[in-house]
């Protein structure tokens, strides 16, 4: 379990910003930090990993103190054993894919874990290539694989999928879910993509100007209610049509365009461009507007 209560004054372009966070993450959870750029999400991950020192507060992980401003404890990044996937992937260009993974081995760790990870993330055919020759999605997979080598208890993903196109993104989301099941990892993800968040995460923290303004399950945060349906389609309204007494809505759901009938009362609440969650029912689909 991670307990964190930190304060840090960050120098931003338009003056200082106070980052004041208090959050708890249960073991094995996948938690997403959501918010505008500059809200302090990346700084939070950097403070968790020891790359940035908070001004005050504490960070406790499974009852080990990682940082405490009062007792002046501050473990170095090297001592924290964290898997970190950077926004720019940070693959070492002087090493092949496999050497990148091997470099991440700890001094007393045997290397049998490497073939396992290569299997799970399916990068076998890439292992002797140089990172410079890989596509964005491939680099991303290698970065994820490399972060797992040291068998971290905590995995931090800084907008890992932002730069990728939708099909590769969907595939990588599946890898993240797979990895999480396989290694029972506590994971903290930064994401801007609501469908991704609903698909992947247990808990969302919405951060605005350095403070958590909302927390809860993705449904609670983005829709306002808990949806019991197993099938949830997250999309964006493209067109609302009125044919006599009937309304239809056309929405972009991931890479597909779907058209479904909806109630007049639902249609009134929606406009083109809104983010929605569709929960298909037997006779009539229900539409939830995403806030």
């Amino acid at each position: 379990m991670i307990q964190l209560d930190i304060h840090k004054t960050l120098k931003a372009v338009n003056g200082n910003m106070d980052l004041q966070l208090n959050l708890e993450v249960q073991k094995g959870q996948l938690v997403t930090l959501y918010g505008d750029s500059g809200a302090g999400k990346t700084s939070t991950l950097r403070m968790l990993s020891g790359l940035l020192k908070p001004d005050s507060g504490y960070i406790k992980v499974n009852d080990t103190v990682w940082f405490d401003s009062e007792t002046k404890i501050n473990l170095s990044p090297q001592q924290r054993n964290i898997g970190y996937v950077f926004q720019d992937y940070a693959l070492f260009p002087n090493m092949t894919v496999r050497q990148n993974l091997e470099f991440a081995l700890q001094s007393n760790q045997d290397n049998t874990i490497i073939p396992d990870i290569i299997d799970i993330i399916e990068i076998g055919e890439l292992q002797h290539r140089s990172p410079n020759t890989l596509s964005g999605g491939q680099k991303q997979r290698v970065a994820l694989a490399r972060a797992l080598v040291q068998q971290p208890k905590l995995l931090l993903l800084d907008e890992p999928l932002a730069a990728l196109d939708i099909n590769i993104r969907l595939k990588l989301q599946d890898y993240i879910l797979k990895v999480r099941r396989e290694y029972d990892l506590t994971t903290i993800l930064i994401s801007h993509d609501i469908s991704e968040i609903i698909k992947l995460s247990d808990v969302v923290f919405v951060i605005e100007e350095g403070r958590i303004i909302k927390r809860g399950t993705p449904e609670e945060v983005f829709i306002g209610t808990n949806i019991s349906n197993d099938l949830k389609l997250v999309g964006e309204v493209l067109k609302i049509e009125n044919k006599g007494s009937e309304y239809t809505i056309t929405a972009l759901v991931q890479a597909n365009i779907i058209t479904i009938p909806i109630n007049a009362s639902e249609a009134e609440k929606l406009k083109t461009g809104d983010k929605i969650v569709i929960t298909p029912k037997e006779f009539h689909s229900k539409i939830h507007k995403v806030n």
């Binding site: 990044p77 054993n81 970190y84 040291q150």
Partner: protein
């Protein structure tokens, strides 16, 4: 023709470059990472030899190392080192004189690497030294090569500093650039021409090799 001045020149350049490499890597690393208030001062001092007349540097060395002064006297009496008009003095003066040519390329090499490379290595539990050896230095090979070659070539080309602190003692401090000056003074234009031509060809070749390697021409040629 006497080969001694040429051999001495290359010996001086080799020794200077070797010591410079050892000094410059930590210095360039510090300059590219530090946020210290001292940094601008150190950067200025490192760059000074670029603009200062070499004779100024040579003059102060001469004063500082002279056995008539406290520091030079102390070196002479306690350590038995005589730096004025000696090869050792030439090496020390050359190191300072060529320092920016080694430090600047390496420093900009370090600065050009994304910070996340270092941070990724730290998060993996790697120490600063391992990160430097295995991640940073291998990724700035061209900068290292540029620094080494420029420092070497620049040491071959020095004249003012060497003349001030070394004089022109055959076999000890009479390097090729000074030999050329002496020969011209003695109206031996032929000998001066030999020395000059050899220096010209060698420095041209060294720089050409660097540009070929850094531009990737050689790799393409072999493929």
């Amino acid at each position: 023709m006497n080969w001694e001045p040429l051999l001495l020149t290359f010996k001086l350049a080799a020794v200077t470059t070797a010591i410079l490499a050892l000094v410059s890597i930590p210095l360039a690393y510090w300059l590219s990472h530090s946020k210290s208030k001292l940094k601008p001062v150190i950067e200025t001092l490192v760059s000074m030899p670029l603009v200062l007349p070499p004779t100024v540097l040579g003059f102060y060395f001469l004063i500082a190392f002279s056995p008539n002064n406290a520091f030079g006297n102390w070196l002479n009496e306690w350590l038995g080192i005589k730096l004025v008009f000696s090869f050792g003095g030439l090496v020390i003066a050359s190191i300072l004189y060529s320092l920016p040519f080694m430090v600047h390329p390496i420093q900009s090499g370090f600065s050009s690497l994304p910070k996340s490379l270092t941070e990724a290595a730290y998060v993996m539990g790697k120490s600063k030294l391992v990160t430097l050896q295995k991640v940073l230095l291998p990724n700035i090979k061209t900068s290292l090569l540029t620094g080494i070659v420029l420092a070497f070539a620049h040491t071959i080309g020095e004249f003012g500093v060497v003349l001030m602190i070394g004089g022109s003692i055959p076999g000890k401090t009479k390097v090729a650039s000074i030999a050329i000056y002496d020969e011209v003074e003695a109206l031996n234009y032929d000998t001066a021409n030999y020395y000059s031509l050899i220096l010209f060809i060698i420095t041209f070749s060294i720089l050409l090799i660097v540009y070929l390697i850094n531009g990737g021409y050689l790799k393409r040629f072999w493929k």
